[in-house]
Every structure is written in C-alpha cells, then in structure tokens.
C-alpha cells in the first residue's frame, strides 16, 4: 500500500499547486476589449444581501444606476454563503469570476494577496471616495499600502440589555464602565438570569469587543507583529478577566457554544445582556406574530468602557473588482456610484449602516430607531487585523482562548503560544 499512499500524496499536492498557480496568475490582462465599442456593457455583480436588502437592490438601486448610466447594464447574482470562498477561488482561477463582488471585509487582504483583486487606489476619483467614507471600514481594504476595494456598508456590535431582567434586578440604565457592567451582571445573576454576559462564542468576532475594551490588543499599529501585543500583560489580564466571568458563571453558556443561543436567551428574558449588530433589530422587528418587541423589550448601550475604552469590532462588506474583470472601468463606475450619498441612503433603509459619512449622519437615517448607538459605537470600533493570514491566525487565537476559558491552559501560556505561532505565519 506504500506506493498508493505516495501516489495519493503526490496527486493532492499537484492539485493544490495547480489551484494556487491558477489563482495567482489570473491578474495581468484586463482592459482591451471594452474600448471603442458603443454597445451596452453588462457588468456582473455577485452580492450576498439578505431577502429584504435584495429587494431594495433590485427594485431601487439597479433602476437608478441604469438610469444615470444608460450605457451599463447591471447583472445581479445572489450568492449563498456556504462554500462561498471556494466559489470565488474557482471563479478566479477559471477566469469566470464576476466583475464585482460584495465580500466580507476580512476576505479582502486574502484575495488581494492572491492577485485576484484589482487595485483601485489608482482609479479615477478614488481619493474623493476615500474622503467621503469612515476611516475604519476603509482601512479594511488595504493590502501592502494599496487599496483593493471600497467599503459598501459597515456595521458593528453594541451591547443589548434585556429590559425585563433590568427591572427585576433594579438596574435603571445601561452600564457605562466595565466595573458597573460586571456589578450589574452580578445583580442580574442574583435576580435569576440564566446568563448575564452573553458573549456569542469563543471566536474573535464574539470576544474581541470585550478583549479590547478590557485593554487587550492584537498587534502593533502596522499589523506586523503579534509578539509583545497579543501576549502583553494587558492582553493576558483581559483574557483572564473573561475566563473569570466564565468561572463565576456570569458568562452565558453561549461563550462555549451552549444553549440557548443569544437571540433565544434574549427573547425568553433569560439573558441579561448580549452583543449584536443592527440585524438583531432589523430582522426581529420584521418578524410577524412574535411576542418579543425588540425595541421596547431591550435597552441599547455602547460596549462598557474599560481600560481600553469602549471598543467594538467592525464588520461589514467591501465592494471589490476582480483582476480579470472584462470591464474594469464600468465596474469602477458602479463601485464609485454605489459609494455616493444617494444609493448609500437607499440601502440604509434596510438597517445597513452606510459607510458614507454624509449618509450615515443624515437625519433621515438616524430616524431608524436603533441607528444612533451603532453610529456612535462605530467611532471607536476597530477592525480585525487586516492581513491575508488573518483566518489562519484567528483559528489559533480562538483555540487558545477557548482553552483558557475552559480552564485547560493559563492565559499567559495560551497567549504566548498564540503570539509565537501567529508571528511565524506572518513570515
């Protein structure tokens, strides 16, 4: 059987090589065949909007864009999330990627490194776009000093408190500082809450807001070093504090993947606090026949302020143009247009937070009952490390973090180990 094993290994490796080689090479050509023809150009746009958002996109955005740019037709394809990354890789390496895509902000550096994306910082009118949007979301498009996309919408998470439990525990307003927050959680726990601090899980999107607010940090400022930051005394202390919440049973079972989930616990008045994005409101407000009224039954607050300030994590999507797009000019025209105030305002009707500053501060948008706290939180929210290796490094940090929470590893060992492994991946 030995020959068989080595044969198999050989084939797998060559397949992998082929995959990377293909995806690396598709970068050079572009331009060319879109010049001189006056015919209508069709640009293909892969998006991942939800049901309500897709409706707005099809009924309002598409007609408006095509009216203003009659020479361009926008072809929309909605992609499911499952296996989406592999779909993009297959599309890029097979020269069958669309012109544009709306992708999660953390994917952009990774695909940029592969050579799959077109650099947009040199495109006409880029600086004006950059001026008009929030800095944090814009920063998620950087790879090696250049920009590979524009932030089409942004989001973050705020603290959401359960009104019924607050009343029961005699808490009148959302805690502002970390100390108040922990004290309030203890009160809520004593008043019978099944879980007080509803951290979504032991993954970075879930725990980073607490880690950062408690004073923890991931890297140095230009994202080149984890050692000395991820395992700094402050970071270790932050992880220890979260582990202590788990030990004191302040943390809800969700931290280790237990039931009920954050939404369920909030809806059933079992959890004192959870953190989540604007979709918590936009989805649950649209739910027919539900007894739970998200606006009346919860109180929103910024993340409690600790040593690191009131920090939350930036999420959202960037609009990117693929390197092998046949119509990069037209694709950029659309991307640029999508970042202007009008379309940004239209998309914000669905509860998506505009990344365009003017649209986000538009009184019309701020009338969305839950918008204010999110826009406020965005001012101090931070992006996850925008580097191509982030998904690998994240997996290491998550795993070690979980070990600490489970009491299987000391915070110091875990963070030292993670920092070492992370730095070796950066090289």
């Amino acid at each position: 059987m030995k020959w068989f094993k080595s044969l198999m290994a050989g084939v797998s490796i060559s397949t992998l090589l082929l995959a990377t080689a293909c995806s690396g090479g598709g970068g050079e050509k572009a331009d060319g065949d879109n010049k001189g023809s006056k015919d209508k150009v069709t640009i293909e746009y892969w998006h991942t909007y939800g049901d309500q958002e897709e409706k707005v996109l099809v009924d309002k955005i598409k007609p408006l864009f095509e009216k203003e740019h009659p020479e361009i037709e926008l072809k929309l394809t909605r992609m499911p999330y499952e296996g989406l990354k592999q779909q993009v890789i297959a599309g890029v390496s097979g020269d069958a990627a669309p012109d544009l895509m709306r992708m999660d902000i953390i994917w952009v550096p990774e695909f940029a490194e592969m050579g799959a994306l077109k650099e947009v910082s040199s495109m006409d009118g880029f600086d004006a776009v950059k001026e008009s949007v929030f800095e944090g979301p814009m920063a998620t498009n950087v790879f090696e000093g250049k920009y590979y996309g524009v932030p089409v919408n942004t989001n973050t998470k705020v603290a959401i408190y359960n009104k019924a439990i607050m009343d029961k525990a005699g808490i009148t307003e959302a805690p502002k500082t970390m100390d108040e927050f922990v004290a309030a959680s203890q009160k809520a726990k004593d008043a019978g809450a099944k879980g007080a601090i509803g951290i979504g899980g032991s993954f970075s999107w879930g725990f980073l807001p607490y880690f950062w607010s408690l004073g923890g940090e991931l890297t140095n400022e230009d994202y080149t070093k984890f050692d000395g930051y991820l395992n700094s005394p402050e970071s270790i202390k932050a992880v220890e504090e979260i582990a202590k919440w788990q030990k004191d049973k302040l943390a809800a079972p969700t931290l280790l993947g237990g039931e009920p989930g954050t939404w369920d616990g909030m809806k059933k008045n079992e959890y004192f606090m959870i953190d989540d994005g604007p979709w918590f409101y936009s989805i649950l407000m649209n739910e027919e026949g539900s007894k739970f009224k998200p606006l009346e039954d919860t109180v929103r607050g910024l993340m409690p302020e600790g040593k690191g300030g009131s920090r939350s994590v930036i999420g959202g999507e960037d609009l990117v143009i693929f390197a092998n797009s046949k119509h990069p000019e037209e694709a950029w025209t659309f991307a640029k247009w999508m970042m202007t105030t009008e379309p940004q305002k239209i998309m914000s009707e669905t509860g998506l937070i505009p990344s365009n500053k003017e649209a986000a501060n538009d009184p019309e948008f701020l009338k969305v009952p839950f918008a204010k706290e999110y826009v406020e939180q965005l001012k101090t929210a931070m992006p996850r490390t925008p580097i191509p290796q982030w998904s690998e490094i994240e997996a290491i940090i998550n795993q070690n973090f979980e070990k600490v929470v489970r009491g299987k590893m000391s915070a110091e060992d875990a963070m030292n180990d993670a920092a070492k492994k992370a730095d070796s991946l950066l090289k």
Binding site: L7, G83, A90, D95, D276, E288, G289
Partner: protein, 277 residues
C-alpha cells in the same frame, strides 16, 4: 421453529428503540416547520405544542423561485442517474467480459479517483469544463456527475456481473448472439437489484449536490435545489422553520425513489436455479 417469547420481546424492544433513535430528529424537524419564525432552534416545549399548519411550506414554495429550482434539479438528477447507471453498467461489462492491457491498473485508477476530496478537485474540474466551453450549461454539470458516477457504479456492478453464470452467456453465444445481446438480455435483467440500488445512490447523490452545481452554473435561474436551500441561510441569522420546511420538500423525491426501488434493493437469488448443477 419455536421462538422463545422473551427473546422475541427483547428483540422487538431493541428494534423499537432503534426506530425511535433514528426517527426522532426527523419528527423534530417536521414539527419545527410548524413553528413560526424560529431564528434560533425552538425548544422541545415549543416544538411539541406547535399546531400543524402549512404556512411555512407555502412561504418557502413561493420564495426564491423554489419551484423552478425543484424542476431544474429533477432534470439534472434524472439525466445524471440514468447516465451514470447505464454507462457504469457498460464499463463494468467491459471489465468483466473483455481482456485488455492494464485492465487491473485502470480499475485501480478508477477506485483511486473516488478517494480525492471534492473540494480539492473542484478547481481542475472547473478549468476542464471551462475549456470545453460548458460553463453555465447542464452538459458541464452532467459531465462531472456522470463521469464521477460511472466510477462508483462500475466498482459496484463489476462484482455483481462476475457472479452471472458463464453457462447463461454460452447459451446466447451458441444461438449466435453478440455482446450487446448478452449485456442487454442476460446481464442487465439479472442485475436489476444492483441497478436499482445504484440508481438510488446516483439519484440521491446528485439531487443533494451543492458545491459543483454552484460552481458550474452561473445563471441564477438555472440553479438547483440545494443552492436554493442554502439561500435560506443568512449571514447572521437563519429562519430555521423555513430551512426545515424547504428541506422536507427537497427530501420528498428521494423518499419516493426509495419507496419505488426498495423492493429491488440488493437481494440475491435472481440467478439461482438457472443453471443445472
């Protein structure tokens, strides 16, 4: 033969327990489809107090072009099933009846391809389909489905074909029949149980297939059912009662195929008694 009644009771109890274990998740799933707006999985108390209704099914059926995708899937899986079973039978026949150079080596290569994980093969496969100009066509999809399916059915049917008695074949040869007649009138009818089993595998395999379908098919209206199912899953929250209702609809054809073919499910004895000892 006498059976001990106590032993019988025990056997039945174990069987009933087994049935419960296997069927409970399925029943739970059906009951979940009666709950409204389950963005987190509903708890037992909610599920068991749900009043049966078809509201979620109605929503799902009219949403996201579900019906269109259902028909697409029927076409894709139907052709792929017939193709992979028929060509697989032909290939298996060749492996059993003919001698040719590198026969065993080729067969090993066949088996080997079954062990490559799909995700690893997707990029090369896509590149091939692309260079044939078959992206965004069902032909491209069938090429991969049938090509992949042949391997499994050849492997499976070869074993079956080898058990067909030589004497039966000789009787045809004596009457002047060729290979086609032997294949069509002896091998195929005698292997009905195996063919039926293979058809079930091939159908449920392609009916459920998500990844290749999404890669090859670019046009939204040509997508298949599993893709439509995935569309119900959101990035941040999913309505589980919709997902489950859609899954139940999606699973129906597979259940029907099982019911049709289950009598033919691998049963021996088709050729017993055809040859005098």
């Amino acid at each position: 033969m006498k059976t001990n009644p106590i032993a019988k009771v025990i056997v039945y109890m174990i069987l009933i327990l087994g049935v419960l274990v296997f069927i409970t998740p399925f029943i739970y799933m059906i009951l979940t489809t009666f709950v409204k707006g389950a963005y987190s999985l509903p708890r037992p108390s909610e599920v068991f107090s749900a009043v049966p209704n078809l509201d979620n099914y109605e929503v799902v059926w009219t949403k996201n072009n579900f019906f269109r995708f259902f028909l697409n899937s029927l076409l894709v899986a139907g052709v792929a099933t017939v193709g992979s079973v028929f060509f697989g039978a032909l290939t298996a026949y060749a492996f059993v009846r003919f001698t040719f150079p590198f026969k065993e080596f080729i067969f090993r290569v066949f088996i080997f391809t079954m062990m490559i994980p799909l995700v690893l093969a997707i990029v090369p496969q896509f590149t091939v389909v692309k260079s044939l100009g078959l992206v965004n066509t069902y032909y491209g999809l069938w090429l991969i489905y049938i090509g992949g399916g042949i391997v499994g059915s050849t492997f499976f049917l070869r074993g079956f074909f080898e058990k067909v008695p030589k004497e039966l074949v000789e009787s045809i040869v004596m009457d002047g029949g060729g290979n086609w007649r032997i294949f069509w009138n002896i091998y195929l009818p005698l292997s009905k149980p195996a063919l039926g089993t293979m058809a079930i595998f091939a159908f449920s395999g392609t009916w459920d297939e998500y990844f290749v379908a999404l890669t090859i098919i670019k046009d939204e209206m040509m997508r298949t059912l599993p893709i439509a199912l995935m569309m119900f899953q959101g990035k941040y929250a999913s309505n589980w009662s919709w997902i489950f209702a859609a899954s139940i609809i999606a699973i129906l054809p597979v259940i029907i195929i099982y019911i049709i073919f289950q009598k033919k499910f691998v049963q021996g004895g088709m050729n017993e008694g055809s040859v005098k000892g």
